[in-house]
Amino acid sequence: MILAFVVIGFLSLLVAGGGAAVIMGLSEDRNVWVSHTYEVESHIDGLRFHLERLASARRGYLLGDDAKFRAAYAASSAAIPAEIDALQRLTVDNPRQQRNIAILRPQVAQLTAALDASMAAAEAGGRARAAQAFATDDSAPQTRQVQQTASIMFAEEQRLLSLRVSAQAGYVRAFFVILAICGLLLAMVAAGSVWVILRYTRELARSRDGLRRLNDNLEQAVQERTTDLQRANDEIQRFAYIVSHDLRSPLVNVLGFTSELDAAARPITELLDRAEAEAPALVGDEVRRAVREDVPEAIGFIRGSTQKMDRLINAILKLSREGRRTVSPEPLNMNELVQGIADSLHHRVTEAGAEIVVEKPLPDVVTDRVALEQILSNLVENAVKYLKPGRPGRIVIRGRRELAKVIYEVTDNGRGIDPKDHERIFDLFRRSGVQDQPGEGIGLAHVRASAYRLGGIVTCESALDQGAAFQVSLPAAYFGEIMV
């Protein structure tokens, strides 16, 4: 719409300009005609002049018989027909003037004939005759007639002139009007263009501001979210740390006083022994059972449970401590790192009658050495731990790069994991399958927490008796957490 407006503006400017040019051309044409009129008038004037000179030269000659007058007469006499011819030629388009010329010609011819005759008579008859001829001169009315005709012609030209001049003035006026229109259009187009430009600029500025605001908001939102996450994470870490510490305090008491109980039970047992030996009647079955069975059993359970609780608390503590450790990424040679893990487990692996195959080359990665080492060695240890009895174990470690990620895979042909436990095994203190191996259910929880810390994930694919495949997917280059 705005474009159409601009186009229309420029088109009308063009039309106005064209109109001005046309008017200019027409005016030029009028100019030519005006000067034509002036030319005709000058010829009429010339004719009048020569007629006048003809008459005065003749008078002079008749009175003074001077050769000078004679020559002037001859010159004007020759010029008059030429002037008339010129007039006829110039006014060929004007029938009125042609008619006037037709009247003029015989009148001039008559006049000049009369004058010529008087000149000839003067030449032939001498002074006296000439003076007589001058006295009886009848050329005056003829001269008046000629002059009158010339005046009519002049008037006619004046009429044309005034017509043409007024026409030209009209054209000039029209020209100025068009010029004014042009100016107006120009001003309008200019104003319109400026308006359009301003509007576009404003819109641009507005959308740019909007974008910047969005961008700022986005950054701010991300920052806020990151801060929130960081805070929540810190809170959890602190929570785990404090809880595990504060839980240990009562445990120290429980275990400590259990031992005190145990110690106190000893003299009681001795007393019972003595009583049985010296006064068996004093010892009832209840007392015997309490001292010999119930108390030691209770103490045993309390101690066992408390010790287990201590191990669990220590596991949480370890995880929280791991979470608080600063991640320091570095370029890692994975062939060396994985071979190192395989070598460190060599003894246990051969004992279990298994083998570890490292499929080299493994893609390299930039990440935290300790964390990745712990992840992989945990997975390989698990693979060694849960082999299928009676089947030669084979643990394969391979890796591949996918875009900006590296994936390391630890596969075994061991006893496998029930698919319903695939998520559960990553939970703290949760284990799967037959509980025939030592452990607290911490390893995989630790693996997953570490993988998250490195910006990656760990997943499991397995079925019972089908072996298991653990995949660790990490960013190929990890540069720590996004710090606020």
Binding site: H245, R248, S249, V252, L255, G256, F257, S259, Q307
Partner: protein
Amino acid sequence: MTHEQPVTILMIEDDEGHARLIEKNIRRAGISNKIHHFVDGTTALSFLFDHPEGPAKNGPGLVLLDLNLPDMSGTDILTKIKADAGLKRTPVVVLTTTDDKVEIQRCYDLGCNVYITKPVNYENFADAIRQLGLFLSVIQVPEIDGLG
């Protein structure tokens, strides 16, 4: 008495059970020195610095310090003891559940003499306390000589 002033033991420990266990084991180790027990940092500090029987006025002393106290951190007390000209030679044994390396490092940096983690395993704990008892009997002599 050949020793004019036996070492006074200041136990700063908010957990009554722990305090009792520590005391029992110290006694079992054959240490019969007087034990003052404080359950918070404020009273412990006022005893340390201002009490007529405290080590500042009436040395020598030995401090058994738990780090997790209700009103302040044990490291604050440690810092104050080691910053005081009169108390800085008083041995401080940190006895706490924290086995965080950084925390242990920090205590040694602040001038703690022995750091003992309270193990849940009671036998280890008793052993540690008994060894502490041996330690106490060793440090008794130079402290007394220093004062005498």
